[in-house]
């Protein structure tokens, strides 16, 4: 039984905007990255799965329940972190998360107990008794995650969980998402327009573009090693490429990097020695992998996807 399954799922807003276009997919439990540019239909898909939006046509099931008819039942077992702000200002995180736990059907005592637990898990301590209005964006994002897991959902839908966070906050949030998916064992769908984030935490990738499914495969198949060595230098990439070619390697300059084909170990020493002889400032030496960006490059739209 797939966790999520859609058949020809279509959503149109008005007559002109098509958010989802005949989307058919099956998703097994795991940490699933749902990636696409802004406006690709990620949020629309999540909202339909929650039963918040009706589909124009087609069908979708979550845990074998039809979203159109069994919404309230599904929502008891689903946690949702919306993309936008969704927190009141005048109540404390403790009161709010516990209230939301009860909205998900927990008895009062269980809601209180689990609130304390999930707030500790997301890293909110003394501040949890203060009104949410005074929180930083990072703290608010933690509260949003806490309310999504307070009722121990079977499925967690996270819509841009790192929205508005600084790099450190991003890292912490991604760690939390990863722990939630692995240690807590909650099947998780992470919608993001940032491929790098998906790559870091997810095991499976769904790429959608303009409401259509672009790719659906385990993440490992995208990031296999390619046998290409990337040599990034401060300057002189072109000269380095020429010298490496002269030394018998297959190499070409690509911006500040030189890409060297490495069928075996031999090129490493040559690259090291050549860089040293030329006195270049070496900034990075890395084994290139297939990048997720390539997915979108094929389609010719890399603009929003970084």
């Amino acid at each position: 039984m797939p966790l999520i399954s859609t058949r020809s799922l279509t959503k149109r807003y008005g007559s002109s905007v098509t958010a989802l276009d005949e989307l058919t997919l099956d998703v097994e439990p795991g940490i699933i990255g749902l990636v696409g540019a802004n406006g690709a239909g990620k949020s629309t898909l999540l909202k339909i799965l929650l039963g918040l939006l009706p589909a124009t046509s087609g069908s979708a099931t979550v845990m074998d329940m039809d979203v159109a008819t069994r919404g309230p039942e599904i929502r008891q077992f689903v946690g949702y972190l919306p993309e936008h702000d969704c927190l009141p200002n005048d109540v404390s995180a403790t009161d709010f998360v516990s209230h939301m736990g009860r909205m998900a059907g927990l008895p009062a005592a269980a809601a209180r107990e689990r609130t304390a637990e999930v707030l500790r898990h997301v890293g909110l301590y003394e501040e949890r008794y203060r009104p949410i209005g005074g929180y930083s964006t990072g703290m608010k994002q933690r509260v949003k995650l806490a309310q999504a897991i307070v009722h121990d959902p079977k499925l967690l839908l996270l819509d841009e969980p790192t929205n508005g966070l600084d790099p450190a906050g991003r890292d912490e949030m991604l760690d939390l998402v990863h722990r939630t998916g692995t240690e807590f064992g909650i099947a998780t769908v992470v919608a993001s327009h940032l491929l790098g984030e998906i790559e870091r935490v997810c095991t499976f990738l769904l790429a959608i573009d303009a409401g259509k499914l672009l790719q659906s495969a385990p993440i490992s198949s995208f990031v296999e090693r390619t046998g290409t060595l990337g040599v990034e230098v401060e300057e002189g990439a072109d000269a380095l490429a020429e010298r490496l070619v002269a030394a018998g390697l297959t190499a070409r300059a690509d911006g500040r990097s030189v890409l060297v084909d490495c069928p075996d170990e031999r090129p490493y020493d040559i690259v090291r020695d050549t860089v040293d002889e030329m006195g270049l400032a070496l900034t990075r030496l890395e084994q290139r992998r297939h990048r997720l960006e390539d997915l979108f490059r094929v389609e010719g739209r890399t603009d929003d996807v970084a």
Binding site: P82, H99, G105, P107, H121
Partner: protein, 302 residues
Amino acid sequence: MTWREAAVAPRESATGAIYDLGYQGYDGPRLGRRAAVATLFWASLRAAFGLGRSGRSKIVPWGLTAVIVVPAAVAGAIQAIAPGGLSPFNYDNYLWDLSPILALFVAAQAPELVSSDQRNHVLSLYFSHALARSDYALAKLGALAAALFILALAPLLVILFASIFAASDVVAASGDQLQNLPQIIGSPAIHAVPLAALGLAIATFTPRRAYATGGIIAVYLVTGAVGSILSEAGRGRLSQVAPLLNPWVLLDGTRDWLVGNTIPDSPVPRAHLDLWVFGVLTAAFTMIAIGAVLWRYRRIAA
């Protein structure tokens, strides 16, 4: 290992006092939709009186509660000091005379219950839980109606107890007064539900609290003023029925019809209509208002 044992057992090879409880699943009962609605109702009722909120949110509801009770208490005290004196207030005219207090309570607290959820997009969290959209709307309506019922009942209870304890024969007075129970319960109930529906119907159409409060007051003022102007300026039949534009007149007529007696200074008798007409019109505007609230929550983006 239970979580309590885990709580006191340091993690293996822990170097400091770091306790890792790990993540605990939840296998207990899930009470579902009805429990969620009941919880939202109680939470909203508490919020209507600012309970569990900051001191600032208590000022308006408790201030208005004090203001609506004080005249009844003063009248009661006077009766106790000078028995036999005629009190200006009774169960019939009290809510009519103090209707502005009920109006202010609706104008202030209807937005308190619904505006911030809309403005802060909390609705998308509510609707992504076990609740249906109509559940949310009805829980909020019920909470506001219950709050208004309590507010309107309080002074009538003060009158009741004052009458009982000011009497020379408390037992006989209790018997007499308890016959008024249908009025004491019925009159607040007749006011609470239509006022809550009307107030919420206006408040749900804007996420801005100030607009909602202003809108509710404007509806009272405009309907009241137009009714008065038409009844002053109009002639004949028009001047008699014009006050029916005012929701307060409809409420008073309904109260008159179902549980009470006619108040001399009310426009109700001057309309020369059967009292059931007031009841039907009140029911009609209440149903329309409830319909508007439900419609609004079905449409609202979340």
